[in-house]
């Protein structure tokens, strides 16, 4: 399974490297979203500092939706889905590979968005350990849930609208927990950020395990 996962992740990242969709489209989209938040909050500086973690994770959520859509659009475009089914690759491996590719792209977006938040919302970075751990765990959760739900909407005509509807409520706890973890790390609240990271870990575990177990069946049925 790991061999297949590396192969699929490599393929997805190769497609990204050639087409540069994440770099040219998703990242600018995320940065523009941050700008729009700035406008919506009317440049209220103390408010922006307080709200920065939440806005950051919202921007990550929207970027995640785009990244997952893209991950499945490349399969759908020339009927490559049949190719995947016929390839003899293990479905669990395909799931892990795709989730890893989406996760890596999201991490790049997050790094750039962190820069954006520092500049636009005047955030001071501290508590690096907690920031990075919670970011890694939430990214794993977003990628896992995204690819799992992406698979089942893969063959459907209404994929573009159904996927956000399915994913957004599912990812709500990730936004919640990640925001709280970051608020704790940045000293904006007195909550226990590590407890929130634990919750993020649970969510990621549920969806990664669920995806591995069910991806085979989901790939067939659409």
């Amino acid at each position: 399974m790991w061999r297949d996962a590396v192969l699929v992740a490599g393929k997805d990242l190769a497609v990204e490297r050639r087409s540069r969709v994440a770099l040219n489209q998703v990242v600018p989209y995320a940065l523009v979203v941050l700008l729009l938040f700035g406008f919506a909050f009317d440049q209220d500086r103390p408010l922006l500092v307080q709200a920065a973690p939440g806005l950051f994770w919202l921007a990550v959520l929207f970027s995640g939706l785009l990244a997952v859509q893209r991950s499945f659009a490349i399969e759908a475009s020339d009927g490559a889905v049949d190719g995947l089914r016929l390839s003899g690759l293990e479905p669990a491996g395909i799931f892990v590979g795709k989730a890893a590719a989406v996760g890596l792209q999201l991490l790049v977006v997050e790094v750039l968005l962190t820069g954006g938040v520092v500049v636009l919302f005047h955030t001071r970075l501290e508590g690096a350990g907690l920031l990075i751990t919670s970011a890694l765990l939430s990214t794993a959760g977003v990628a896992g849930a995204g690819v799992a739900y992406g698979a089942l909407s893969m063959g459907l005509r209404v994929r573009e609208t159904l996927l956000p509807l399915l994913l957004a409520p599912v990812l709500a706890p990730v936004v919640l927990a990640a925001t709280e973890a970051w608020r704790s790390a940045l000293g904006l609240s007195s909550a226990d950020g590590w407890r929130w990271s634990g919750l993020l870990g649970c969510f990621a575990a549920v969806y990664l395990a669920g995806g591995v177990l069910s991806f085979g069946a989901l790939m067939e049925e659409t």
């Binding site: 909407s153 005509r157 599912v170 919640l176 709280e180 909550a191 549920v206 669920g210 069946a217 049925e221």
Partner: protein
């Protein structure tokens, strides 16, 4: 081949329906007139006779959906009846979920002047509602019955696990932000209030059962309609094969040694 009994009602549903109606009437009478207003909440306590029961039925519906989905996924137990039960539970649960949100909102507005509070349970219920809409939308998007059952049961399980995570997330989140009003949903009740509340549970419970049963039967009827439709669709599809022959030649079995293949096929 139209089945004359193409309705989802029966003696059981009629009994359930009438008793539900009677219990609801009793609930309304006791709730609005007989039981006294609360010392603290005044008249608004009467929401007690609607909201908790409705909320419980909402959880019952989703719980039913989750358990039925588990049963469907279990290889030895698999049967279409679990899938029908799952969709019945989800749809009825979604209706009660909306009712929970609305009654909760009204109660909040009446008691504390706000339509919404970021109370743990209300927030969780809102997320639950959104999840159920996604589940129902997904069911509509898949045509093949087996795929639909498989995909929705997996999604139901994933969503159930999400709800567990959400429960912790929202309750921790609310305790963090103590400045928002915490909604005390189970005030101490006794006497007439307790009795009326029990009646409300019975009434909405009966209504829930009635709705689930009808929805289940509706699903059975739809499946029957589809299978009958399938038989005639097969006929129509096969006739595409024989029709051109007749149209072109205008004769039956005139040319060639035998019509054996076409006959063998169109049994």
């Amino acid at each position: 081949m139209r089945n004359p009994q193409a309705l989802s009602s029966s003696r059981l549903t009629r009994v359930l329906g009438w008793s539900a109606l009677a219990a609801l009437a009793l609930n309304t009478w006791w709730g609005l007139w007989l039981s006294p207003p609360d010392v603290v909440q005044g008249q608004f306590v009467r929401m007690l006779y609607v909201h908790p029961a409705v909320a419980t039925m909402c959880y019952a519906g989703f719980g039913l959906c989750t358990l039925a989905s588990l049963a469907w996924l279990w290889p030895r137990l698999r049967s279409p009846r679990w899938d029908r039960l799952a969709v019945a539970g989800a749809e009825v649960g979604a209706v009660f979920c909306l009712a929970t949100l609305v009654t909760g909102s009204i109660w909040g507005r009446a008691s504390w002047g706000v339509w919404w509070t970021w109370d743990a349970r209300l927030t969780l219920t809102a997320i639950l509602f959104a999840l159920s809409l996604g589940y129902l939308a997904l069911r509509r998007a898949v045509d093949n019955p087996h795929s639909r059952a498989l995909v929705s049961s997996m999604v139901a399980l994933l969503m159930a696990l999400t709800v567990v995570v959400d429960h912790y997330a929202t309750s921790w989140w609310v305790t963090l932000h103590q400045n928002t009003t915490l909604f005390k949903q189970d005030p101490t009740v006794h006497g007439w209030q307790l009795a009326t509340m029990l009646v409300s549970f019975i009434a909405f419970g009966l209504a829930f059962a009635w709705l689930v049963l009808h929805r289940y039967r509706l699903e059975v009827l739809e499946e029957r309609y589809e299978t009958e439709g399938l038989a005639s669709a097969l006929e129509a599809r096969r006739s595409e094969a024989t029709a051109p022959l007749d149209v072109r030649t205008g004769f039956e079995g005139d040319r060639g040694p035998s019509r054996a293949p076409a006959e063998a096929v169109s049994q």
